[in-house]
Every structure is written in C-alpha cells, then in structure tokens.
Symmetry: C3
Amino acid sequence: MSETSLVLMKKVEIIVKGEDLHNIEQLLVKANVSGFTIVPNVSGRGHHGIHEGHLLFNDMHTLDMLITVVPEPLVDPILAGLGVLFERHPGVVFVSDAWVTRKHYFETFGE
Amino acid sequence: MSETSLVLMKKVEIIVKGEDLHNIEQLLVKANVSGFTIVPNVSGRGHHGIHEGHLLFNDMHTLDMLITVVPEPLVDPILAGLGVLFERHPGVVFVSDAWVTRKHYFETFGE
Amino acid sequence: MSETSLVLMKKVEIIVKGEDLHNIEQLLVKANVSGFTIVPNVSGRGHHGIHEGHLLFNDMHTLDMLITVVPEPLVDPILAGLGVLFERHPGVVFVSDAWVTRKHYFETFGE
C-alpha cells in the first residue's frame, strides 16, 4: 500500500441493545466523532453472560453494531464514556487499526 | 490509547451459510468462546467460486457473518475446527487484531 | 497463532449508497478481487457531512457495506478506482490487516 496516501486511524466497533443506541450516538458526537455506520439487528450470544444479576446478552437478543473510524486521540474519551455507560447497560467494544485514504478522509470528514 | 487499559485479542470473522451457523456455534462453544455476534443475511459473491464441483457461494447467496473476539490461544483450535468443517461446507474466516478494555473484558466475559 | 498456516492480507471495507453498489462490484472484479461479502442496509450518520454542496450521508441514509479480503498488491488499484468514484458518489473505505488460513485461502479463492 502507498504509505503516503494512507492515514492510520482507529476503528471502534460498539455492540449494544437498540434502546441504548441513542446514548452511544450522543457520546460519539460529544467526543467529536464526525460520522459512523450502524449495522442493525445483529444478534448477540454468550454463555458467560451474567453481569450484575442479569444476562448480559440474552441468547439471540437483537442488538445494533456501531462502527466508527477515528483519530487515535479520540479513542480514550470514547472508551471512558462507554465505561460509564457499560456500568448499567450491556455492551461490548472492540478497537482495531484501520487505514483511510488521506485525501478522502480530510475531504469527507472535514478535519 | 492507554496501553494499560487495553488487552490485545484476536477478532475472528466467519462467513457461512445460514444452515451451517449452528455447527459454527457448537465449535465456538467447544473452543471456550464466551460470546459472539451474528450479522444475519449478508450476501456472498465470488467469481472464482468453484470448490469440489459446486459454486462456493452462489452469487448473492444469503449467508451469516459471525464475529467473535477471543484470546490468541483460542485461535488455533477454532481454525482447526473450521478447517474440518470447511472441507464439506463453504465458508471463509478472517483473523485480525482487536483491543478490548481490560476491565470490560474481564467483567463481561468472566475470565 | 501458527504463523506458518496464516497469510497476511488486507481487508477492505467500503460503505456506499445501494445505487452505487454495482459500480463498486465492477471495480472489484476489474481489480481481480475473487470474492466479497455485502452487509446490506447499514445506516450512515455524519454531522460534518457536507461534500460539494450536498449532505455526504443523510442522517440514517440506507447504505451497503462491502467487505473484501485481498492480497496487498490489490489495495492500491482498488483505492485508485474508489478515488475516482468518490469524486461524484459519497462513500468511505477502510483498510486493515487480516489473516486468512493459507490452505483455505488458496483453495477457496483459487490463487
């Protein structure tokens, strides 16, 4: 890949109940995330799913997956916000490396 | 990112026919995977899709994508199991790095 | 993970309007991509979404996500093609590392 044309970012994938999606969106906007993608109606299964007395995800509970790709400095604020949210709402978050095209990123997301 | 709060894991993404989903779930539970997410009704397309005499994925065949994030030592057993399964059932698997929050991971997945 | 059995590839995730999916598929086939997966009906949201005078993604616009895993040399041609397409059609692309099983990859995708 052309290193010059690609920018390393962080992909954050969040899986939550549909009823908590709005909270996550508010959190992301507050953290200056400029855009995200929602994959609706995913299913979560877990057999160690007990957390504070209730099943973390019921078998086949309908959830939403939210994907956003952000500059690395935004990851910690997002995780901090999710940490608070996940104290009372079930959810998972995965962080991974992702590259975006420099031109595309700066044009699209306006930063 | 705060290295202290994040744990490196492996994300395993498996794409199979819906009728084979149950086999995959059994395989994951047997490999001690504590939870996973299913993205239903994805479509697979391939133009090199011949495998043992039948199309690997028919164009636009309806498939399911199963996503799980596991400790690295679980990857080999999962791939070994999938290897056997994929001898007779079409499917693909991708493995990538993903970070989870330590607190969240240990609380959520109970390990 | 067994390094011997896994091959490093690049995962390319493309998010576009459904009406542009066909163009993307043509581009991928032309770039010698042997297969891909479509996650239909994802939603895009962005609050910096102005590009050439129109909203990049309307709030909750219905989009499709296309996922393909390719050898690294295919990434640049794909990004070049997308660059041209994205001049007139909204979309995003993320590139990340992904490993596939050697045996599986060569058998499945026929290369």
